[in-house]
């Protein structure tokens, strides 16, 4: 009664593949920047790419997955559709959250750039200081030894 449009192995249309590729590339590039707004745009664009990917993986185009229609044409797989539907709404939630963060960052810092984490920087500095301290300690011990040798030599 209901035939899915995914009988034999096939490929999605190249039109969709192309869109997925472009959206994925643009989304990733935006994601790697420092402005929170651009990161957010990256998230939005990348979500579109992934949603299309999931839907395209479900099979070629078909009629909507409704039961009470007259045609018997093959229909599109409903499972990826359900997954994508929830993903779309979640993206909205994430968008709102990141926007709130961008706004807060602007409120506090006067820009929406993601700075390097101060805590991590401190750890890095502490490690460097530790190295320096070890060097100073070694040097001091060497000097003390040299002094001992001198004393022994003179006495």
């Amino acid at each position: 009664m209901t035939v899915l449009a995914t009988g034999a192995a096939t490929t999605p249309t190249l039109a969709l593949v192309g869109v997925i590729g472009v959206l994925g590339a643009v989304g990733t590039t935006l994601l790697l920047e420092r402005s929170l707004t651009r990161i957010l745009l990256g998230v939005v664009v990348l979500s579109n790419a992934i949603n299309l990917l999931i839907l395209a993986a479900g099979g070629p185009a078909g009629r909507p997955p409704m039961l009470e229609t007259q045609t018997t044409a093959p229909m599109n797989d409903p499972l990826p559709q359900a997954m994508v539907l929830t993903a779309i709404v979640i993206t909205l939630g994430v968008t709102a959250f990141l926007l709130a963060m961008a706004y807060r960052s602007w409120q506090l810092e006067g820009n929406d750039e993601v700075r390097d984490d101060a805590e991590d920087r401190r750890i890095l500095r502490a490690a460097e200081h530790g190295d320096l301290r070890a060097q100073i300690r070694a040097e001091r011990e060497r000097l003390a030894r040299a002094e001992d040798d001198d004393l022994r030599g003179t006495s």
Binding site: A9, A25, G27, L85, I123, G130
Partner: protein
């Protein structure tokens, strides 16, 4: 057994209260439980010796083969008596050692009893896991006990050192426990000992276990923590460091010796390390000036002696070792107690300041004399008998003429000479008259009270009688020595005071003479020892800690650069590698299919638009322009969804994209119009490279996922399932019925996201006070005829609460205005057309949203789409009428909408349980109602209603936070003099 063990922990819990009520005398009450346990164990003794051993088991987690198993054989019996008996005596001693005003005494009492309980559990446990749990508990409690004087730096440091070292050993041991248990398939100690596993893995595991035992018993190279732990109060030293905790390692060696003593590694780690520790620590004890430190090094030396003997694995050695264990506890504990008394009475325990104390404290001196003599191994005391038995055991090994045994014996005689030497030094140092020191003035010294001395006195008496009456104990100790697995040696198992003049007696005499010589030349020995000292263990320990610390910092510093792009880059690269490499390998297996350019030519137009808009986002520097371009990709995607055959997705994507655009604009109006400086060119090139790689990966993935498909999709059966569920929109059925669990999780995420948004904007409270107290859509109405300047002053941002006072105005104003809230907006920013449209459309849009909710089951729509449409209705009101109009439009708080949404969804999911179905089962309802006629529905509609409310709540939250709240903040920012409502 079990109830007694539990009683200890219950008593530990109430002990603080008792001490709080009765002061230090509460310790006498606390002592009753360990004392009772010791008596109970003695009463059980005949049965234990006769066998079989009493056991007590509780099935804890049968699925994991976890059993709370306790078992009391002879070894456990001896250890129980030692642990609880000494615990009772030390608790009595505590009642006089401390004053009631001692800071932290309340905690100390509880921890001390808990420690006794853990120790009891450790020696009774018949399961390696249970043993490990109690093992670690003793480490934790000893940390608290050693660090009792938390104000002192040395005390804290000592506690940390002891904890670090013993925990390190404990964790090593845990690995061994798991290896042994998994190899044997059984964690029961009695089973493991009677039927020991073998193999390379077991050898490694045994070595790991021994690392734990050696660290707990402070053998080399872990011995540094025990002398440091002398910062603890003396009762703690007497109990933990003579009778209890350090004996845990000895106990473990004794427990496992029957099973593993035939391994060469075992012999090296127990007999070898033990003997070396005995000699080296004994040598170090000879030059100590602090009485407690002297005893500490002496204890380390004796622990080495014990482990060397008990690890040997012959029945004679096991027999002698157990006797030595008893004798050691009997003489070492009173010596610690005496040190405490001396410290208490004179205020010092430095033997360079003590002189003539034997006259001031004759009874204490008597106790010390007996205990020291036993330590030195003088006849007729317990120490002598035990030491003779050990010498005998090594004189008559399992194989005659075994040279390692002779070598060990020689080392033990040397160690015993050191023992005699430091025993004499202790007695001389604490009590003797010293020529160059005046006797301490009687005014500054005071002898102990009877109760203070009683525990030490009792132990000394036992030392005294332990020798002549040792024979009585022989049958009991032989019960352990005849454990199957121990090698039978060529000597008889008995403890005799007079053994005839044999080699052992000669060895004892040599040791005594050597020891006295060492004492005679004590100053020279001490100087020589100080010169020969190679390593300061404490300095080594500190250096190791420092190195680990630095290493951790360097590793953290090297991996955690704190840069988000860097982290994301690493994540994406990993994704590329992990997905890309297997993908490249299967690519050749994918059947070649004729490529199709499009499903229908009409697909190409949106595809091109989406691709171009996306590329444009990369280039433009104007913020809003970029947002609009991203929006175009979203709308384009929606069109592609529809062409693919997914109208539900298309609808939702359109709606979400619209809301997103509005929200973007709401927030971005505050931010600068252009993006700040772009990233460096090299960086941008790298980003682009990574992006292109990711795009290629996704595109390939989309081809392979479909072309490589081999099995029919699971959704083949969805059509029939949807029919059964009484709906025709399969996607909607999947969401609210077939895969409703996913939806549950997803709406929870939405609730969290909404809360996050609100908390970022309303830092303290979700709702502004004014809105919460507003009694309905009460919006203060400006007087349109008023002076514009005054108008600004009065109406820009009045608190809503204020509206109650102007309630009279409200009625008049609502008659006149399309959107009453809009009256609060300055005239020049209002748009009458928009207001009229908003007013007229609002209810229509709401009706549409309800329609979408209801038809979701049979046609395009559903809770998600409906909720967003309802949210859009509110958005229209807000955009036309400002934030007061938003407050007026919905009296419900977003928080309660979200809460109700979640409650209804979970409630409908759980309701299925009430009717005896699984969670989330839906029921089809067909009703015939008077007016409406036949109604066809499903309980999953209730679930969808929850989704609807939650999504509406999310949108309201977004509008309130990113719209109204930002309005409010910018208004305040513009007029800083105004007080916040």
């Amino acid at each position: 057994m079990g109830p007694l063990l539990v009683a200890h922990f219950v008593l530990a819990a109430v002990a603080p209260l008792l001490v709080f009520w009765w002061g230090r005398n509460a310790f006498l009450v606390l002592a009753a439980l360990p004392a009772g346990t010791a008596l109970w164990a003695l009463w059980q003794a005949p049965q234990v010796v006769a066998g079989p051993s009493p056991t007590w088991t509780v099935e804890w987690a049968p699925a994991y083969h976890l059993v709370l198993a306790l078992r009391m054989d002879v070894l456990s019996l001896v250890m129980t008596v030692v642990v609880t008996g000494f615990g009772a005596l030390v608790l009595v001693y505590c009642a006089r050692y401390f004053t009631s005003a001692e800071p932290g005494l309340v905690r100390f009492a509880g921890v001390m009893v808990a420690f006794a309980g853990s120790m009891l559990g450790l020696v009774l446990a018949d399961d390696l896991v249970i043993l490990f749990v109690f093992w670690e508990l003793t480490s934790v409690f000893s940390y608290l006990l050693i660090g009792h004087d938390a104000e002192r730096r040395t005390s804290r440091r000592a506690a940390t050192t002891a904890f670090t070292v013993t925990t390190l050993g404990g964790l090593t041991m845990l690995v061994g426990v798991v290896i042994i248990g998994e190899t044997a398939g059984d964690y029961r100690i009695s089973h493991l000992v009677s039927d020991p596993p073998a193999g390379a893995a077991v050898t490694v595991a045994v070595a790991l276990l021994l690392v734990g035992a050696l660290s707990k018993s402070a053998l080399l190279p872990f011995s540094l923590w025990l002398p440091a732990a002398m910062a603890a109060p003396t009762p703690v030293s007497a109990y933990l460091h003579a009778a209890a905790m350090v004996q845990a390692g000895v106990y473990l060696v004794a427990r496992l010796a029957p099973a593993f003593s035939d391994l060469l590694l075992w012999q090296l780690l127990t007999v070898g390390v033990g003997t070396a520790t005995m000699v080296l620590a004994g040598w170090k004890a000879l030059r100590q000036n602090d009485l407690k430190l002297l005893l500490a090094y002496g204890t380390v030396s004796q622990l080495g002696f014990l482990i060397a003997t008990l690890g040997r694995g012959t029945d004679a050695a096991a027999f002698a070792g157990l006797a030595l264990l008893l004798a050691h506890a009997l003489f070492k504990a009173p010596l610690f107690l005496v040190t405490g008394i001396v410290d208490h009475g004179t205020g010092t325990r430095d033997l360079r300041h003590l002189s003539g104390l034997w006259r001031a404290m004759p009874a204490t001196f008597g106790v010390a004399l007996v205990a020291t003599a036993s330590m030195a191994g003088l006849p007729p005391l317990a120490g002598f008998v035990a030491k003779e038995a050990v010498f005998e055991a090594f004189l008559h090994p399992a194989r005659a003429g075994s040279w390692p045994d002779t070598l060990v014996l020689a080392a033990m005689v040397l160690g015993s000479a050191f023992t005699v030497g430091y025993s004499a030094r202790f007695l001389w140092g604490a009590f003797a008259d010293k020529r160059d020191l005046p006797g301490l003035a009687p005014a500054t010294t005071h002898g102990p009270g009877p109760l203070f001395l009683a525990p030490a006195l009792l132990l000394a008496v036992l030392c005294l009688f332990g020798g002549p009456f040792a024979e009585w104990l022989s049958p009991a100790l032989a019960g352990y020595a005849t454990t199957p697995g121990l090698t039978a040696a060529q000597s008889e198992l008995h403890l005799d005071l007079v053994n005839g003049v044999g080699v052992a007696m000669v060895a004892s005499a040599v040791a005594l003479a050597g020891g006295l010589l060492l004492f005679r030349f004590r100053a020279r020995v001490a100087r020589l020892g100080a010169q020969c000292a190679l390593l300061d263990a404490d300095a080594v320990y500190r250096r190791v800690l420092r190195t680990v610390d630095t290493l951790a910092l360097q590793v953290t510093g090297a991996t955690q650069r704190g840069s988000l792009p860097l982290y994301l880059g690493v994540v994406l690269l990993t994704l590329l590698a992990v997905t890309g490499i297997p993908l490249a390998r299967v690519l050749s297996d994918v059947p070649a299919v004729e490529p199709r350019w499009w499903d229908s030519p009409i697909q190409v137009a949106p595809a091109l638009i989406v691709a171009l808009a996306a590329l444009g986002t990369l280039i433009v520097r104007q913020r809003l322009f970029a947002v609009v371009l991203a929006g175009v990709t979203g709308y384009g995607t929606a069109v592609l969804f529809v062409f693919q055959g997914a109208p539900d997705l298309g609808l939702t994507q359109f709606l979400v994209e619209t809301v997103s655009l509005v929200v973007f604009v709401l927030v971005l109006r505050c931010l600068p119009g252009r993006f700040s400086t772009p990233v460096l060119r090299s960086r941008r090139r790298w980003n682009l490279l990574l992006g292109v790689a990711m795009g290629a990966l996704l595109a390939t993935l989309s081809i392979v996922a479909l072309a490589g498909r081999q099995h029919p999709p699971v959704s083949d059966a969805f059509g029939a399932a949807a029919q059964q569920a009484g709906g025709s929109n399969i996607v909607s059925i999947v969401l609210v019925d077939l895969r409703a669990w996913d939806t549950m999780g997803e709406i929870s995420v939405l609730a969290v996201a909404a809360t996050g948004v609100a908390s970022l904007l309303f830092l303290l409270r979700r709702v502004p006070n004014a809105a919460r107290h507003a009694p309905g859509p009460s919006v203060p109405i400006p007087d349109p005829a008023g002076d514009p300047q005054q108008h600004q002053q009065r109406w820009r941002s009045p608190p809503l609460a204020w509206a109650r006072a102007t309630a009279g105005v409200r009625a008049r104003a609502t008659e006149q205005a399309w959107l009453p809230g809009a009256l609060a907006i300055p005239e020049e920013r209002r748009s009458v057309v928009l207001e009229v449209l908003a007013r007229m459309l609002f209810h229509t849009i709401l009706l549409l949203s309800v329609y979408l909710l209801l038809t979701g089951h049979t046609s395009v729509g559903g809770g998600f789409a409906g909720g967003i449409v309802a949210g859009l209705a509110l958005t229209v009101r807000y955009l036309a009428g400002g934030r007061f109009e938003l407050y007026a439009a919905s009296r419900l708080q977003p928080g309660s909408l979200i809460g109700w949404g979640l409650t209804i969804a979970t409630g409908s999911a759980l309701a299925a349980i009430l009717t005896g179905h699984e969670v989330l089962t839906s029921t089809v309802v067909d009703l015939t109602l008077p007016v409406l006629g036949h109604v066809h529905g499903s309980t999953s509609l209730v679930f969808d209603l929850g989704v609807y409310l939650l999504v509406l709540g999310l949108l309201l939250d977004i509008l309130r936070s990113l719209g109204a709240r930002i309005d409010e903040q910018s208004e305040h920012a513009g007029r800083p003099q105004e007080v916040r409502p």
